[in-house]
């Protein structure tokens, strides 16, 4: 009879042998997968069993089934909703402004025809991406400090712009702008990598055709470069939208109890409720985590569907 024929991603045909024989032929590969399997089971799947705690009262002393109690108190908790709202506001705003900044910088880099200068700038602006959030926060905490060595405050004072030092990181009105600026400083350069890859793929004939039509430099940017980037911008936004709830470290290293109102996000809320509470109820914080995971999962699926529709390929 006819054998089933499938093709690999490279287009090579595979003629299937009987299943048992194929399994036997691949025994070496299964063995090689074993360490990965065990590792993933322990590190990723075992914790998933812990989700059941969200239906229990789980403290150091007792473990008692309480049904949906934690979810009921969760939905009534003002601090939880504040952290939920903050997470969305902070990460979506951050995503939009760093992406916009990256696109703008990419266009400038693309217009630079001196290759040495171009490479040099790329090297410099990628740098902050590889610095940890702790380092970044430490640098800006020191620069923005109100002590006599705080660069920003003392410089502004010496210029006569302000009279008294401003406590940037402890001010509810200034914390967010500072947070966004630090994010722009750290991630804009790295964000250009993917846009520059797109731009290097533009057919030079498009620019030549524009020249023949007598287009100016600005017109070429507007009618050739920018449209070429649009698709990539949408993809970048979709890919990152799937991860908006994951925000933790960047906030954790910069926030403090005086600015919780504008900075507390879901993960930092879970952290404080568990590790900075005298008698933590693991059940409650697991429930908060489960809610976050479920919403996050939904976001990933929506973004995956959107990605498939736009570029014919999922996000993974």
């Amino acid at each position: 009879m006819s054998k089933k024929v499938t093709t690999t991603s490279t287009g090579a045909e595979i003629r299937h042998k009987p299943l048992g024989m194929r399994i036997w032929n691949h025994r070496g590969y299964y063995l090689m997968f074993l360490p990965v399997l065990i590792y993933v089971l322990i590190i990723y799947y075992w914790p998933m069993l812990g989700i059941r705690y969200s239906f229990y009262d789980y403290t150091l002393k007792k473990m008692e089934f309480v049904g949906l109690k934690h979810f009921q108190s969760l939905f009534r908790d003002r601090d939880f909703w504040r952290s939920f709202k903050n997470t969305l506001e902070l990460s979506v705003t951050k995503l939009l402004i760093t992406t916009a900044a990256s696109v703008l910088v990419s266009v400038f880099i693309n217009e630079m025809h001196n290759l040495t200068v171009k490479k040099g700038l790329q090297t410099i602006i990628y740098l902050p991406h590889f610095m940890s959030w702790t380092v970044t926060a430490a640098i800006f905490t020191l620069f923005l400090s109100t002590s006599s060595t705080g660069m920003v405050n003392e410089t502004l004072k010496s210029w006569g712009v302000i009279k008294d030092s401003i406590d940037f990181l402890h001010s509810t009105s200034l914390w967010r702008p500072v947070f966004y600026l630090v994010n722009i400083w750290k991630e804009t350069g790295w964000g250009t990598v993917i846009f520059l890859a797109t731009l290097s793929g533009i057919n030079p004939e498009l620019y030549e055709a524009a020249d023949i039509d007598g287009a100016t430099r600005m017109q070429k940017i507007w009618y050739v470069t920018v449209p070429a980037l649009l698709n990539t911008v949408i993809i970048v936004l979709i890919l990152n939208l799937a991860k908006v709830l994951n925000m933790f470290e960047s906030v954790f290293v910069m926030y403090n109890n005086r600015v919780f109102e504008v900075s507390d996000v879901i993960s930092t809320y879970i952290y404080r409720k568990t590790f900075l509470t005298a008698i933590p109820n693991y059940g409650y914080t697991t429930a908060v985590g489960l809610f976050k995971s479920l919403v996050g999962c939904l976001l990933v699926l929506v973004c995956d569907a959107a990605s498939k529709k736009i570029r014919g390929r999922g996000i993974m």
């Binding site: 499938t6 690999t8 490279t10 299943l19 194929r22 032929n25 691949h26 070496g28 590969y29 090689m32 360490p35 990965v36 399997l37 590792y39 993933v40 322990i42 590190i43 990723y44 075992w46 914790p47 998933m48 812990g50 400038f108 217009e111 630079m112 025809h113 200068v117 700038l121 090297t123 410099i124 602006i125 740098l127 590889f130 940890s132 702790t134 380092v135 926060a137 430490a138 640098i139 020191l142 006599s148 003392e154 400083w185 990598v193 993917i194 890859a197 030079p204 620019y207 030549e208 020249d211 430099r217 879970i270 952290y271 568990t274 914080t285 697991t286 985590g289 995971s293 996050g296 999962c297």
Partner: protein, 288 residues
């Protein structure tokens, strides 16, 4: 590129206004990144704390670094960072190359299920608290090896590795199989030697992740001799809790020296390995 250059700027003598603007933008962008980093480096060598931006230290000293290297509460975390980064990177590379290699065996029964088994972890997770409770059961809390275990495999890196392996011509594998090479043999003799660039860039991704990790330490470790350098930096600068008595230098000098130490390994490697830092993204982005 040269062709486009000719076409867009025309005769050489004609300097476009845009080019001048562009050079100015470039200088501003470079300064925005360099000035803060330069200030950190200069102040780490300056015995007195100043608020101004100086090109060179006014009172040069190595005291900040000497203090870090001679205070066990400061150098011990640095060593912990080095150890966990080395082992975390090795474990990560072993796991993601093994997994990536197995997942590109197209004829292997169950391949799809295995891929889903891994990818599912990118969509859904147990969350911070159940993970913490599992690690506690495994006695990995208050233990710096948690950093190695937590980052020992990243599914995304495994997928990048698989994408790279798929680019290796299948004919090479077939020839080796005909010569009687075992899967392990093919892996070591053909796949790995052909993947040096991918190994370098994914290895770097693991190294950066483990070295820079602070939140894992914050969640899992409370004993001071097990923390990493990022943690101690945060405790010093943000919480003002400097684990040293009697300063040889101003507190400011010590803080900035600690920041430099925390970025030193990658500052040294970065100029030489920049291409590998960037290729990792491209393996992921270009693959269609």
């Amino acid at each position: 590129m040269a062709k486009k250059d000719m076409a867009s700027s025309g005769p050489k003598a004609h300097v476009h206004v845009f080019d001048i603007v562009n050079y100015i933008v470039f200088v501003i962008l470079a300064l925005i990144i360099i000035v803060p980093i330069w200030k950190v480096v200069v102040d780490s060598f300056n015995a007195v704390g100043v608020y101004q931006f100086k090109l060179w230290p006014t009172q040069p000293t190595l005291g900040g670094y000497q203090t870090i290297l001679s205070t066990s509460k400061l150098y011990r975390p640095f060593l912990n960072s080095v150890i966990t980064t080395v082992f975390g990177t090795l474990l990560g590379l072993v796991m993601s190359t093994l997994g990536g290699y197995v997942l590109c065996q197209f004829e292997m029964p169950g391949r799809e299920a295995m891929a889903f088994f891994l990818l599912f972890t990118m969509i859904f997770s147990g969350g911070m608290i159940p993970e913490y409770l599992v690690m506690k059961q495994l006695h990995l809390t208050n233990n710096m090896w948690i950093l190695v275990v937590k980052h020992g495999m990243n599914v995304y890196n495994l997928v990048l590795m698989r994408n790279f392996f798929e680019g290796i011509p299948a004919s090479l594998f077939e020839a080796a199989e005909i010569d009687g090479c075992s899967p392990m043999g093919i892996f070591f003799k053909i796949v790995l030697p052909l993947s040096k660039a991918a190994l370098a860039s994914i290895g770097l991704m693991y190294a950066v992740t483990v070295w820079n990790d602070y939140s894992t330490v914050q969640i899992y470790i409370t004993t001071r001799d097990q923390v990493n350098f990022q943690y101690i930096l945060r405790v010093m600068v943000m919480d003002g809790d400097t684990p040293t008595s009697g300063y040889k230098v101003s507190q400011n000098t010590l803080y900035y020296a600690a920041i430099v130490m925390a970025i030193l390994p990658f500052m040294i490697l970065y100029p030489f390995l920049q291409q590998y830092f960037v290729t990792g993204v491209n393996i992921g982005a270009v693959k269609e």
